[in-house]
Subunit: 305 residues, 2 copies
Amino acid sequence: MKVAVLSGGVGGARFVQGLVEVVEPGDVTVIGNVGDDVEVLGLHVSPDLDSILYALAGLNDEERGWGRAGETWRALATVGELDGETWFQLGDLDLGLHLVRTQALRSGDPLSSVTRRLSVALGIETHVLPATDDRLRTWIETPAGEFPFQEWFVARGHRDEVDAVRFEGEAIPAPGVLDALEDAELLLIAPSNPYVSIGPILAVEAIRSALAARQVPAVAVSPLIGGRAVRGPADRMLQRLAGGTSPAHVASQYPGLIDALVVDEADADDLDGLGDVRSIVTRTLMSDPDARKRLAEVALGAVVA
Amino acid sequence: MKVAVLSGGVGGARFVQGLVEVVEPGDVTVIGNVGDDVEVLGLHVSPDLDSILYALAGLNDEERGWGRAGETWRALATVGELDGETWFQLGDLDLGLHLVRTQALRSGDPLSSVTRRLSVALGIETHVLPATDDRLRTWIETPAGEFPFQEWFVARGHRDEVDAVRFEGEAIPAPGVLDALEDAELLLIAPSNPYVSIGPILAVEAIRSALAARQVPAVAVSPLIGGRAVRGPADRMLQRLAGGTSPAHVASQYPGLIDALVVDEADADDLDGLGDVRSIVTRTLMSDPDARKRLAEVALGAVVA
């Protein structure tokens, strides 16, 4: 079964890891968020694509939740000693990838080609695509001012409440994205932050239209458990921007775009207001490989149910 | 006593280390070669300036002869795994410096400012200046074709014989260079390769003119011992391009620019043809800190002799 999945970084990457355990890896296309891409020390960093690549290559640090296992930080320590910018954590292993990607981008390769090259080098069979090759950047409006995503998220530790999320840049889908959405027998939205992880993907109008015009089922997995985010600010954002953190508030972020929402058992008593969206209740915490795989199975089960 | 010294990389850096043991470090200005600067993985690398900075900061790897002590190579290993360019060795610690410098250069800072900033951060009192802030690149003409310096030196292991050395770019001295040459009570040329280390500095016409018009003594230290280079291709180049490797052949590379040449005891019987250039015979192998210091003392002694 061919599957296309929209995904943010860490949580999405974990979900995708589970997914390729139950679907042929080569039948899965991951459409990744690039709204939080950032230039650090002159290098182009794509945190969400990298989380997906590292997870699929088995190189990710399970414990820390981001970056590579066995990472060291010697280059960044030197940068600090030389009074360079150190607000964004770049490990030595991670740097190797950023150097290769940045050089390729500077030579004119689009991000999708570079990502494919990196995937091949890492032995990944799953298709990993950026939502767009164009420059698309997420800006966060807060009472303290408007910030580029990573400045708000990393440098300010996402401490500011969010009044609005804005996307900068006119973007069209990267080559392969629309084909993947068209060929898929199931469309999935990973348990990622609807505003800052999935939102930038859906900000590419042709992707949103393709989802809205789908001929196959679309299933989102809620990133909340008992109304709380496992990590990150999704719950605070939903509370402030959508008025609550129930499954219905999550589903409201994908209007007309999903047929079912996978929610956690902890939210089973709070299923009002989902309208046409069917709820699928299961355990959604991806605490280990088995849990990830089970969650993917449930999401896939939505098709046949 | 104020001293200005023209220097290439490794050998020059060692000499400068000895020099600042016998002269107040703040009274020394090093004018470094930038002809072998290179863009690697999108980073601006200044190998000779770095050798000087690392040596003066006590961070250099004495045994390997280049780069930093305690270096690791994890980023570059990753670059290799991702099929990126690995022909030029960049360690993790070294990368930190290249990232900081490259970012500063891209933001419009001239190389001399960046070098000063790095010096300050590394606690270096000696003034380290690039010969020029302009783009000046050394090209090596060989029977196999013409190559940018590092491609010939590193990628091809300087295996090709050299027919000619050419400098690309119109360059004026970096701020501070002419002042340092004017203020100096002694001008030194480090035991570096005359063609590819000192040559690019003298290719900056105003520097060459300042040396030619000097009011103070100028002393070069020969990089050869018994007609052989301690490392690198200086001897092969002198043989082929100047017709021999005697002290007179070395001195011929600095016509009208030096008053004395420090040569090794092993060359003491081969002092013919030096003309106006006085020879100073001593042990020149900089095998340890004491040897470096003694060599610097001898070079300085040329003034009072």
